[in-house]
């Protein structure tokens, strides 16, 4: 059987003209306008927030009572203002919004997340997390496999906004045969007309002819990629232009914050009912081998403010029970700070799972600061266990099939 996507890939889909919105989007808008309680599990949205470069987990979820923490971090330790969660642990002082979510029972924190034989290379370790395979590699991403699964079971909305990445790249987590749209701004996500002596000439139809038959012209590997990409881009562009005017943010996003802009863009695509299933945003800059503190403090502040605005926005639109946010980073950092007031590459770190569907609390075990492996924490929870918990408990997808193994399901989510 052909899915609609197969038709699109083979260039069989009729070219849609002008600003008409394809039916699937019209339905999407209508569905979003309807009450969310009717939403099926596949209407749920997972938003991944990648903390790129290796987030310092010990200065995120802080063991403020542990003498070993203070000894290991003579200049980097957070002495004041830690937002206590219990007698031992607290959040970084800049994570006030996350603390409020914690108080509201909407923040789950999984402690000591990592994997066996940790790799201290950024890129090797990212690949492990992205593919959910400790061998890493260039296979499909773990969420790409989820999108493929939606397609197989007929739950896929079958269009290019099913997976959205805010940025100029499609992240490897979403890599699969399913099209994913990289979005940077709605304003620029369109083909500009040609100005011919003051007259606007629409070039979409002629260009679509180039890009519907290039694959068949027999060129090297990129013919099909170019053809389908322009078709998907224009499909998504039409859908976005049709809804652009209607979205009004109901959260206060900080200005001059790329992570806030990225999350706002994701919120807009979700609120506009464009059928987003998974979204990805990246906050980079965590690889602080030197002068870490001011940089890390600012990154966590930006993260907290952006997430807070995003959750407010979704709540304001009545969509908060359909959206789950999960943070990850390729590794934590060395327990003992180095001589540059920074930290070198490490291993285990906490993950945040945030949103109304969450059963708030601490999960897993805080790794010991006195039982280290080459100066690094020993992980206590396998990251694939967190993935499995979200896939099964929230997205209602067959976690062991998608992850290629059985991992402990943590009770992170409401039923």
């Amino acid at each position: 059987m052909f899915s609609r996507r197969d038709f699109m890939r083979q260039g069989l889909l009729p070219i849609f003209a002008g600003s008409a919105v394809p039916a699937v989007f019209a339905n999407g808008v209508a569905a979003a306008a309807a009450d969310s309680p009717k939403a099926t599990p596949s209407d749920r949205v997972l938003v991944l927030v990648q903390l790129a470069g290796g987030n310092d987990g010990l200065n995120t979820l802080i063991p403020f009572q542990d003498g070993a923490y203070h000894d290991a971090r003579p200049t980097l330790r957070q002495d004041q203002g830690v937002l206590t969660l219990n007698s031992q642990l607290g959040l970084h002082p800049n994570l006030k919004g996350l603390k409020a979510s914690w108080d509201a029972g909407q923040l789950a924190i999984v402690q000591g997340v990592g994997y066996p034989n940790p790799n201290l290379s950024h890129f090797a370790s990212m690949s492990v997390w992205e593919t959910a395979s400790v061998r890493g590699g260039i296979g499909d991403g773990w969420l790409g496999r989820y999108l493929n699964y939606l397609d197989q079971v007929g739950e896929s909305p079958n269009h290019a906004l099913e997976g959205v990445s805010a940025g100029s790249l499609v992240p490897p987590e979403l890599r699969s045969k399913t099209p994913v749209t990289a979005l940077q701004s709605l304003r620029t996500f369109r083909l500009q007309p040609v100005n011919e002596h003051g007259t606007q000439v629409d070039v979409e139809n002629p260009l679509m002819k180039f890009y519907s038959a290039f694959k068949g012209a027999g060129p090297a590997p990129f013919g099909a990629l170019l053809d389908t990409t322009l078709q998907e881009a224009l499909q998504a562009s039409h859908a976005l232009q049709a809804t652009d005017a209607t979205y009004v943010a109901k959260g206060t996003y900080p200005t001059n914050s790329p992570i806030a802009s990225a999350l706002k863009l994701v919120a807009e695509t979700i609120v506009s009912g464009l059928g987003v299933r998974v979204a990805h945003v990246t906050l980079g800059g965590f690889d602080n081998h030197a002068r870490e503190k001011p940089v890390h403090d600012k990154l966590l502040l930006d993260l907290d403010q952006a997430l807070t605005a995003f959750m407010q926005d979704l709540k304001g639109h009545g969509l908060d029970d359909r959206v789950l946010v999960m943070t990850w980073s390729e590794f934590g950092r060395r327990v003992k700070e180095n001589g540059s007031a920074g930290t070198d590459h490490g291993t285990a770190a906490p993950m945040f799972v945030l949103g109304a569907p969450v059963k708030g609390g601490l999960y897993g075990q805080q790794p010991s600061l006195n039982d280290l492996d080459n100066g690094n924490l020993k992980f206590t929870t396998d990251f694939r266990s967190v993935y499995a918990s979200v896939l099964q408990g929230y997205l209602k997808a067959p976690a062991s099939d998608l992850l290629g193994g059985n991992f402990e399901i943590l009770p992170l989510l409401k039923a």
Binding site: V194, P206, G218, G223
Partner: protein
């Protein structure tokens, strides 16, 4: 073709990079008689769909395009440089492929005086013409477009993508200084370049060697030197990372200026850990230079750099035989990079059907070739360099220490719209200055005159419907899928 007929020795007797082009490609370039013969042969032996496939190849001549010398030279200029204007293409074509290759490789003999005269002043020491982000980006893009030494700029871009540093940590004057270092050492010995980059202020800030002190080692540079710059992952231990970090202590930024303004470095013996170290099984009181001297001769380093260079110039995932041969070349020539590049351009594999349009134009290549076609003024260079960000490549600002991922990752829904829109704004910006050119001339210069039937028909229809709109027509050529590839 006579040439093709003479190349019928069994493939197994020749190395893969010297094998004749495929039979299909030879057929595709044949004269009408040969085409008829080929068709007759095919008709007897193949299913209808395969026959139709081959008829399309024969008529489209896509795979055989590189048997035409004008296309070969255009291909060479796209790969060794940033494409060509019609005038440049004619000039190199007059030298023949071999002559053009020689001139491109021996670029120190080519004067760049007219570029130097045209470039805006950039002063890394501050003051008037101080290096700002926009200034150095526009400056470099202008170099790519207007240089008389295209390979020099292309290799500079190669090194920027491999030995990465970025404006997220280093200052623009430092990135400018590093860029000049790459240009100066672009085709020299790899070990010399690694020793120089280890002491380069932008790199020292980007990978934290400036804070790497005796008793306070910082692993950042040592790790990436092995993982990304030389051996690749899997060829060193965590102990090697820790020990070599100690070896790189001692170099620090010179002078009393702010750290992001300092463009000189200095060795301070008291900051250097001169004690004994164990690195890759060897013991000694190693310095950073000693570490480079142990990494450069490794076979894995030779193979990794060879793979990277071939993939940059010819096509990705080269055959093992090709990597082996290039790694031999590298090692026999005292780690000389120029020798490897020269060898790549001499390979038949470089002109094989597998290489033709086998790379996606990086944003730098796309924008530079676009500006060659449209022309640009100083403001145009800065504007175009800025417009590269949503295409996924900001000069002097790689996404992370691994550089740009390249290949198919350049193309997604967002970047493709941006790439096409850039061609639109660049042509509109210069619309009153564009010379009148026929569609045939435009496609010959920009896309080898080699278009899919639907692109060709579409362009003709556009030209007929919009007579006299030179900017619109040029835009349409730059917006083709063919132009997205290199």
């Amino acid at each position: 073709m006579d040439d093709a007929a003479s190349r019928t020795s069994p493939a197994t007797t020749r190395p893969i990079w010297k094998r004749p082009v495929s039979r299909r490609a030879v057929l595709a370039t044949g004269a009408a008689g040969a085409t008829a013969t080929a068709l007759a042969v095919l008709w007897k032996g193949d299913a209808l769909s395969q026959i139709l496939d081959r008829v399309r190849d024969l008529t489209h001549a896509y795979q055989g395009a590189l048997n035409n010398e004008r296309v070969r030279v255009a291909h060479l200029l796209r790969r060794a440089g940033f494409g060509a204007t019609a005038g440049e293409l004619d000039r190199y074509l007059a030298m023949g492929t071999a002559g053009a290759t020689q001139v491109l490789l021996d670029y120190p003999k080519t004067s760049n005086a007219s570029l130097d005269a045209a470039l805006p002043a950039v002063d890394p020491s501050g003051g008037r013409g101080a290096a700002t982000v926009a200034a150095i980006q526009g400056w470099w893009l202008q170099r790519m477009v207007e240089t008389a030494r295209p390979l020099e700029e292309k290799m500079t871009l190669f090194w920027h993508g491999l030995l990465t540093s970025g404006l997220d940590k280093a200052g623009p004057a430092q990135m400018f200084t590093q860029n000049q270092l790459f240009r100066k050492m672009a085709m020299g010995n790899f070990d010399d370049l690694l020793k120089a980059i280890s002491k380069d202020p932008a790199m020292m800030i980007y990978l934290d060697t400036e804070t790497n002190r005796k008793g306070k080692p910082n692993e950042n540079y040592a790790r990436e030197l092995m993982e990304l710059f030389t051996t690749g992952i899997g060829h060193y231990s965590e102990d090697d990372v820790r020990e070599s970090a100690r070896a790189f202590t001692g170099w620090t930024l010179q002078g009393s200026q702010q750290r992001r303004l300092t463009t000189d470095s200095v060795f301070v013996p008291r900051l250097h850990d001169a004690g004994p170290k164990t690195f890759m099984g060897r013991n000694g009181n190693f310095t950073g230079d000693d570490i480079v001297d142990m990494l450069a001769p490794l076979r894995v380093t030779a193979e990794r750099l060879s793979t990277r260079l071939f993939s940059f110039f010819a096509y990705p995932n080269p055959e093992p035989e090709i990597v082996h041969h290039l790694a031999d070349t590298f090692q026999k020539n005292r780690y000389n990079v120029g020798a490897v590049v020269r060898e790549i351009f001499a390979m038949d594999a470089f002109y094989s059907p597998k290489a033709y349009r086998a790379l996606v134009k990086s944003p730098a290549e796309l924008v530079a070739q676009t500006l060659k076609a449209t022309g640009a003024d100083a403001k145009g260079y800065v504007a175009a360099a800025t417009a590269m960000a949503p295409m996924g490549q900001v000069l002097f600002y790689p996404p992370n220490v691994a550089g740009w991922p390249a290949g198919s990752s350049w193309i997604n829904s967002s970047t493709l719209l941006t790439r096409i829109n850039l061609a639109n704004s660049a042509t509109q910006r210069m619309r009153t200055a564009l010379p009148t050119q026929s569609l045939d001339n435009l496609t010959r210069t920009l896309v080898d005159g080699n278009l899919s039937p639907s692109t060709k028909d579409g362009l003709k229809a556009y030209a007929a419907a919009h007579p006299g709109d030179q900017a619109g027509l040029l835009f349409m050529v730059l917006a083709t899928p063919e132009f997205q590839l290199n």
